[in-house]
Subunit: 326 residues, 2 copies
């Protein structure tokens, strides 16, 4: 089996590669992994055959090249992030929508050329950014997509494409809507959600962290380990059981910032918590007010997707998997 | 004010033109109407200035030409129909999705070139085909889009585009999801929904009509007159009040085929009803089983959209507006 990871250089792509190496994912024997991204992906965690590919998913010719590899399983994690898609409107649509459509069209051509025998499995990482307020207390599996960002709209549209190409039998697709991934390893980034990880990660590394929102903000989290597990679990499923609803809200932990902080106190003590410095930032407050707080992920649970049960567990996974060793 | 109607040669386009001529639509003074379609639109019902344009909305250059007209109000009714989009997959996406995206991009360019002063109003006709089963008894304004056809997926995607371009302030858009339009004047067509009109229209014209489904099938209807009124009402609204949810389920009449037939009996008598010949057609039965049956259109009602209150009223509108005069 040949596997393609698009967006392989990113944090989730790397977690996925490591999981494919180290866990029994039920995917069967992988003969080769193609790792595609804008920059060369690190292959250190993969001992089998691999090929590193570099290119821009906004370009139809690049998408044709990837489809020509005729991968059996495709993990499509590639996109520009929310903030960039909002600032660079045209680029966002080209990269996050047009590129994916071009890719699906190239795959469909191979499906047709093969007499219908080539039906690649595609696992697309979507996002809870497909939802917009007003929200119910818990977002159900039947709640409408009403994105508040171009990024969310682009994700929702690629979900639609994947559902329709799957319905027609050209691919076997699934879109998994990831919670906010927490605790992200590494440096803070410019994402408005960065602080959700930062207020845990920085104090655990002895560094102060700004909390830019009120501590009663509730949000929806899962660990990087869960993200990789969602991806391989999705790839191991018989996707025909999804019927025509190919987009799934992934499980997560719903908790307030105050609950995040109490979990940190339980795991690491009050001295660590003291490194969190509340300092309201109106721009972030406003953005976060439009984000989902909680989900009822009945469908995903029924299909065997599982996340952490508590935010403490999420912190412990960071300590196990990602805390820099001294 | 300059108005553009895309899909102007179609039945709803023609009803709209007639309504713009004959009713007080609250739209203000129309200096010119551009009528665009694949074939020349009839201008007989419009006494003001008009220009008939012929072209293919799948072509970006054609969409650029239409945007270059810088219309103030755009009624976008153009698409290939469900059956054709299902049979000709690639054509469906090019016409029903790519064309609309190219059009929005050209309008955005004019918005930018105008320093942000050009913000056209767009009323896009979407469809209840954006929904797929399983359905609740009544589909609410918060029910997910899960189309069962490429046509439905394409409509749902253009809705997303219109919502995002509106959110960014490039356009002022609304997508109105029309019920099945009944009683359609003219000849039967190949649409699976054709019989809903046929079992009323043909008997009223003294002709037999096949009923290909069981008479307990429930569906969602509005008259052509309502369709035209939805469009002009949408154009008269301050669309900023929609916030970021720019897609609205239009009101309609939910009734079973048996109730349709009883309404026909009340209006036209049992001899007319006797011209309906039940003859199950499995292909149609199967398609129709996947269609919505009823809606709670609270948002549309609150915004002043109104349909008929009964199927009898729908039949009477056919008699008034469309029954061929002997």
């Amino acid at each position: 089996m040949r596997v393609l990871i698009m967006g392989a250089a990113g944090m989730v792509g790397q977690k996925l590669l490591s999981r494919l190496q180290n866990a029994d994912t039920g995917l069967g024997n992988i003969s080769k992994i193609y790792l595609h991204d804008m920059v060369p992906a690190n292959t250190a965690s993969w001992s089998g055959a691999s090929e590193v590919l570099v290119g821009n998913i906004a370009e139809a010719a690049e998408m044709q090249k990837l489809a020509d590899l005729k991968p059996d399983v495709i993990f499509h994690l590639a996109s520009i992030v929310s903030g960039e898609a909002e600032l660079e409107f045209s680029k966002g649509w080209q990269v996050n929508m047009a590129g994916s459509w071009a890719f699906l069209e190239s795959l469909r051509q191979h499906h047709d050329d093969s007499g219908g025998t080539y039906v690649p499995k595609i696992i697309f990482t979507s996002s809870i950014a497909v939802f917009g307020p007003p929200f119910p207390d818990k977002i159900s599996d039947e709640f409408l997509c009403a994105p508040q960002t171009s990024y969310g709209a682009q994700k929702a549209i690629v979900e639609m494409l994947i559902a329709d190409y799957s319905r027609k039998g050209y691919i076997e697709g699934i879109s998994i809507r990831l919670p906010t991934i927490c605790v992200r390893p590494g440096k803070p980034n410019l994402a408005a959600s960065s602080f959700f990880s930062g207020i845990i990660r920085e104090p655990l590394n002895g560094v102060e962290a700004i909390l830019p929102v009120s501590d009663d903000v509730r949000h929806w989290h899962a660990s990087p380990r869960s993200a990789a597990r969602f991806l391989t679990h999705a790839a191991s499923l018989d996707l025909s059981q999804l019927g025509s609803r190919r987009s799934l809200n992934m499980p997560g932990v719903s908790c307030t910032v105050a609950e995040q902080i109490e979990a940190l106190r339980n795991v690491a003590g009050s001295d660590v918590v003291a490194l969190i410095k509340p300092q309201l930032e109106e721009r972030i407050v406003k953005i976060v007010a439009g984000w989902p707080r909680n989900f009822d992920t009945a469908r995903a649970h029924a299909l065997g997707f599982e996340s952490e049960a508590s935010f403490e567990e999420i912190i412990k996974i960071y300590l196990e998997d990602d805390l820099p060793k001294p």
